[in-house]
Symmetry: C2
Subunit: 428 residues, 2 copies
């Protein structure tokens, strides 16, 4: 299958205006041509982009996708209360089947909003994997030791079993796997060491929530002879392999230097950090340390929607207000975080419109009032665009969303109905 | 003309769930029936809301509508630089005709996003009024002494002439008028006194930008024997009439007490305050003082889109992170600010779905993935809805937007083309 996109404004952050007008060809799951001229070749399908934007799909660097089921279930409380009184009691009632439908609802929200890949950390792997596989979307799957596994459990076996299950249920062309610890305040040292052993054995990258709240930082330094969370995980050995750190809200220069020394990546999740009153991440300081900064939505129970446009606006503007300097963290830098940096953080061959890259492509309409005038497209994409401007989402050459039609393996109305029913049961 | 809306989730913030299911009847420009049962009466038109949300249109309590022309023209700088190096030189090239089309583009963005009324402060009143009048939208129009009027000009005459012009060009059923000073750092005391005289004579409310940046507060206290901006305008007499203060970012408890003592209203504009790195407004402290807090978008050159959903999300979540307390400023309170409080601040008979109120009504779709599950509609409206969920906007009984069709007196493609051409000329 060969598809030609013509008459597109193709996002290219190396250009002065941030884009150029031209054509793109996709063959099977890869981009095989990008250029100003339209190539002379026989194709199976032509898509006229009509002067709208063609860009890489967003890479969501941190998510708990099935938490769409809990959207709005516990608002207006801090992370600690939210977990202990809101999320965990509800999650205790969830089944694999529930998680399948929550995952499907999240995937619908992703493709509607131009997110083509997500780093996904949750539980009931069977339900998650079946949905990811059926939808045909790209993901990085977090294999973890469960928070609730008792101290005397066989963590090595739990991890290997989970790993085998995920490999069995997913397509390796679309899903890669990372070894994940929830956080230092939920995972014992024994579990951390089991995870490291597992990651080393299977040559996997690592990830964890890190320095999300002041409470986490305070508790960690008190418990561990003054070691901050980054210093503590450095000591554990978590940074010896490529590591993606979610949140990183409360970090001083020394903390950031530790992450930089090990080439760790950061997934900043601003809307969740605001809503849980966790804080504002020091993005400008991270940039100055040369860290690879990606952007995540976090789960829809905390933020409460899976929208990288919202997150991009927040990363740029919160970074400015945080240090009272409006000149820092530009729209162009933020677009890079949401695409190129995300792909780097998740170790996938996407995030740019270039020959040889995965055909993870979205089309963004310029037809709404908030996108006029079109003099500064990069600014419009970050500061005024909405996820509803996305009208076409392709992952690995397959169209998953187009103008209100979903192609993710389940009927959209069925997904809504199932999610509604499950939510009712969980809340009862 | 009698219109019946049936099968609607009608927003009512006094109800436990924040809404009830029922019908609404509009006759001419007013709401004449609201109830759970469908009334038996002959009507001219029936609109089946199909279980979606029917709610009051948003009241945008602070705007510079024609600045849509300058969207993205000067990003990533602070207010001072933005005004002096970005906005003012470009505005110097603007004509009445330019402002007409900028106003039209802004109105298109408003009705698309469910904004039915806006407090509007700009210049070239002729162009502004013609667009407002032609579109048939509701507005509160700011009549001001120009920043650029020289010290020896006849301010009294300027104000009276402007007032007569606006009255002549607008429909009093849709447009009311407020006497506005730009800010204490741009308007001389002579101009303030002329404005007060004008307001007293014509029995008008007042408004101004206040305590937007630390620079404004610092300069004011230095110049005026330690008086902060609220103390300074109190001394001038600006608070002796009903006054709407835009921004109010940097205010301590004493400042807020001054505004509270005079029953002044506040229009908070969070996205603009973030993007210009001005700061985060102390909303929770304002609530504790009993202030009437409304929400504004500010102009699209600073924020960069006219979207009350974005602002609502920001008011709730920034207020939490600002004092590290996620329990403050709930979704319900923020919805009240964006509707009821806005109507109070602008002195209009809108903002609620009640018999006798203006028929300023919007319909918000619950059909997108980010609005599922529908267990907590109030939370969904503030934390996950987008302005694109609005599919129908009525002002004073007249439908101005419905499912992609604009009914604002000019063709949408013509508006886009004009805005593009004007922007090109301004930037050249």
């Amino acid at each position: 299958m060969k598809i030609l996109f013509r008459n597109a404004k193709i996002l290219d952050l190396t250009k002065e205006k941030g884009y150029f007008c031209g054509s793109v060809v996709v063959e099977e799951d890869l981009i095989t041509y990008v250029g100003e001229k339209e190539p002379r070749m026989a194709v199976d399908k032509v898509i006229d982009v009509q002067g709208n934007i063609l860009m890489p799909g967003f890479v969501n660097a941190h998510a708990h996708t099935p938490m769409t089921l809990l959207r709005g279930a516990k608002d207006d409380c801090c992370l600690d209360t939210w977990l202990n009184e809101g999320v965990w009691p509800l999650e205790a009632k969830m089944t694999n089947e529930d998680v399948y439908w929550g995952q499907m609802l999240g995937i619908a929200e992703y493709v509607r909003a131009g997110i083509t890949t997500f780093d996904d950390f949750y539980f009931h792997y069977d339900g998650m994997c079946r949905a990811i596989n059926k939808a045909g979307i790209r993901a990085r799957f977090c294999v973890a030791v469960s928070i609730s596994s008792p101290p005397n459990a066989n963590f090595d076996k739990e991890l290997e079993d989970n790993y085998e299950l995920v490999k069995k249920l997913t397509n390796p062309k679309l899903v890669n796997i990372v070894a994940t610890a929830h956080a230092i305040y939920t995972i014992s040292e024994e579990k951390f060491f089991a995870l490291l052993k597992f990651a080393n054995k299977n040559n996997l990258s690592l990830s964890l929530h890190l320095s999300e709240t002041l409470k986490e930082v305070g508790d960690c330094t008190q418990k561990n002879n003054g070691l901050t969370p980054p210093a503590y995980i450095e000591q554990l050995g978590m940074l010896d392999r490529p590591c993606l750190c979610y949140h990183c809200v409360h970090m001083d220069k020394d903390d950031l230097q530790i992450l930089a020394d090990y080439n760790a990546s950061v997934a900043t999740c601003p809307s969740s950090n605001l809503k849980l009153a966790s804080g504002i991440a020091p993005i400008y300081a991270m940039q100055n340390k040369g860290l690879n900064i990606a952007i995540g939505t976090d789960g829809a129970a905390s933020n409460n929607s899976l929208d990288m446009f919202k997150e991009m606006f927040l990363v740029a503007t919160l970074s400015k207000v945080n240090i009272y300097d409006a000149s820092v963290v530009s729209a162009r830098q933020v677009l890079q975080m949401a695409t190129v940096n995300g792909a780097k953080a998740l170790d996938i061959n996407s995030g740019e419109i270039k020959v040889g890259k995965n055909a993870d492509i979205i089309l963004v309409s310029l037809q709404e009032p908030h996108m006029q005038p079109q003099d500064n497209i990069i600014s419009n994409l970050v500061y005024s665009a909405k996820s509803s401007d996305v009208y076409f989402t392709m992952v690995g050459g397959k169209v998953l969303y187009e103008n209100g039609k979903y192609n993710i393996g389940e009927d959209i109305e069925t997904i809504y109905k199932k999610a509604e029913d499950i939510r009712k049961r969980l809340m009862s």
